[in-house]
Structures are given as structure tokens and as C-alpha cells.
Amino acid sequence: MDPLIIVALMAVGIGAGIIGAIFGLGGGIIFMPFLTIAFGLGAIEATAISLIGIVASSVGAASIYVRRGMSNVRLGLLMEITTTIGAVVGAFIAAYLSNWMLLCIFSAVLIYSSLHMMFHGERISEPPDVEDNMSFTYYDENEGLDKRYEVENVRGGLALCTVAGAVSSMTGVGGGAIKVPLMNLFMHVPIKVASATSSYMIGITAFSGAIIYFLNGFVLLDYAAGMAIGAYIGSLIGTKISRNLKSASMRKYLAIVLIVIAILELSKAGGLI
């Protein structure tokens, strides 16, 4: 295979890995257009490689966030239950729904989340005096403090995760783009914990998709290798950058990223790309 293609794949992987690791997005939103448009791959091959890139970037980031005490692995496991159920249901009903409509709904949700993040401050709830299963602490490296928080609206959050799982398995994007705002805006999880937890969860979601493609022999190994190596390097850079970001600026940047994703998806829905 042409070494230039491998280098290009690594470069895309690094870029996607950085953004994915900072915001807990995985990076599929960047991998897919490059793989299909720039590298001319079919949807199945592109999805398979993208999922492997997502595993590399999200696990690369999650491992570091777990050590820093920023990923809430318990909450991640809980929310992953309904996400997985949603993803399985989504895969079965995808054939009956039109994709452009889903993309429009998905974009509308992103735009709403983005505007909310831009114009409203972060709401974090203090845990009750007698701590329960949903009281947690994380260490904010930027401020050098231990911070306590209480996860709110757990049932509603779990229900919405089913929808998020279904939408992302039907459209192929958006696991993290929906889950991070959902955790931050609706469940009052601090943004840094939300994105670090999302990285941990996305790895699990991507695993259950990737293993199917892998077992069916749909993975172009050299492409996947180049992309995964790049994505892993990118995730290491991303976790370094996120360490120095303040929560407020992180929400602002995420709001911009969400708008860009929404525009990309709307142009896909309109048949422009």
C-alpha cells in the first residue's frame, strides 16, 4: 500500500483523536467524511475503520481520564446499558426510517444544546448530606480542587440515552455529541466529567460495533492500522490540552463544535455532501 495514504490516514487520525479526546466525542464525525470522500471507501469499509479509530482514541483518552479520576466509570456503565439497548433497536428499525429526517432531528438537538451551553452557565448540584449512589467527587486539575457533584434526573437521562443510542446507530454519528450535552445540561454532570465519562462509554459502544465488522471480515487492516495509530497519538495530545482548559471555556468550544457538526449533518441531509 502507498505509504502516503498511511501517512494521510494517520494525520486524519491525529486530528480526530485530539478533538475526540478533549470533548469526549470519539471522532467518528471526522473519520467518516474523510474515509468516504477523500479515500473513496464504501460505507461499510469506512464505518468499520472509523469504529476502530474511535476505539483507539476513546480508550487512549479514557485510560488517562480514569487515572486522573475524571471518568465516572460507574455512571458510564449505567448509561451504557440503555445506550446499547437503543443501538440494537436502532440497527433493526433503521431500514424503516428515512435518514434525512433523523439527521434533521439530530442537528436540531445539537443546535439546541449548543445554544444552551453558550448562553447559560453550568448547573452543578451539591450532593445531599447523606450521600447516595449518585453522589460523586472528581479532581479539577485546572483549579486544583476536589469537587463534589450529584447526578440528577437519572431515569430521564437513561431514557434519553436509549434515544441517543438508537439515533447514533441509525445515522452512524453522534454518540458523544448527544451524550456529553445530555449529561452536562440535563443530569448536571460537570462538563469535564461528562466528556471524560463519554470517552469511556464510547469505547464500549464502538467495541460492540467494531467486533461485528471485524468478525465478518469487513476491516481493511492497513487502513485501520494507520487510522488507529494516528487516533491514539491524537488522544494523548487531546488529554494534555484538556488538562489546561477551564470548564467554562470547554463548554464554549464544545458549543462551537456542536454547531459545526449540526451544519455538516444538515448538509448531508440536504444531499450537499
Binding site: A56, A206, N216
Partner: protein, 90 residues
């Protein structure tokens, strides 16, 4: 080893092993066995999140954190069902 260190080390070691194996496979891709090495690398890499869940599960059991052990058990059951259903569908 503390809870987060164990999960961290598991994720870290498997993801790095996967990436290193992939890099070796890529360098040897001209050889006949290069493909096989990359195949192994992809397998190790994509199984790293699963291993992370399993280690988290063991950690929770050791800590006797039963509420979260229940949560993790349900997740493992749901993941297995999801994979079986998808394999049947393809």
C-alpha cells in the same frame, strides 16, 4: 492497587499493545505475515474496552459495591445480547 489504577493500567496496557502490534504489522505489511500481525493488533485493540468493563466489574465485586455490581452485570448481559443479535442479523 487502587480502583482507578487497576482500570487505568488495564486500558493502557491493552490499547498500547494493540497499537504496537498494529505498527509492527504495518511495517511488515509487504511480507505475507504482515496481514496476520495487523489482524491480531486490531483484535487486541477493539477488545480493550471490553476488558476495561470486565476489570471494572471485578473491582466493584472486590469492593462489595453491590448496587454498581448489579449495574455492571446488566451491562455485560446487554452487551452480549447485542453482539449475538447483530451477528445473527448480518
Amino acid at each position: 492497587m487502587s480502583e482507578s489504577n487497576l482500570i487505568f493500567s488495564t486500558l493502557r496496557i491493552t490499547v498500547i499493545s494493540g497499537i504496537v502490534i498494529l505498527a509492527i504489522g504495518l511495517l511488515l505489511s509487504e511480507q505475507a505475515y504482515g496481514e496476520k500481525i495487523m489482524w491480531a493488533g486490531v483484535l487486541v485493540l477493539i477488545c480493550s474496552p471490553l476488558l476495561g468493563v470486565l476489570v471494572t466489574y471485578v473491582v466493584l465485586i472486590k469492593e462489595r459495591d453491590w448496587f454498581w455490581v448489579k449495574v455492571a452485570s446488566v451491562l455485560i448481559a446487554v452487551l452480549s445480547m447485542g453482539i449475538i443479535l447483530s451477528l445473527l442479523k448480518v
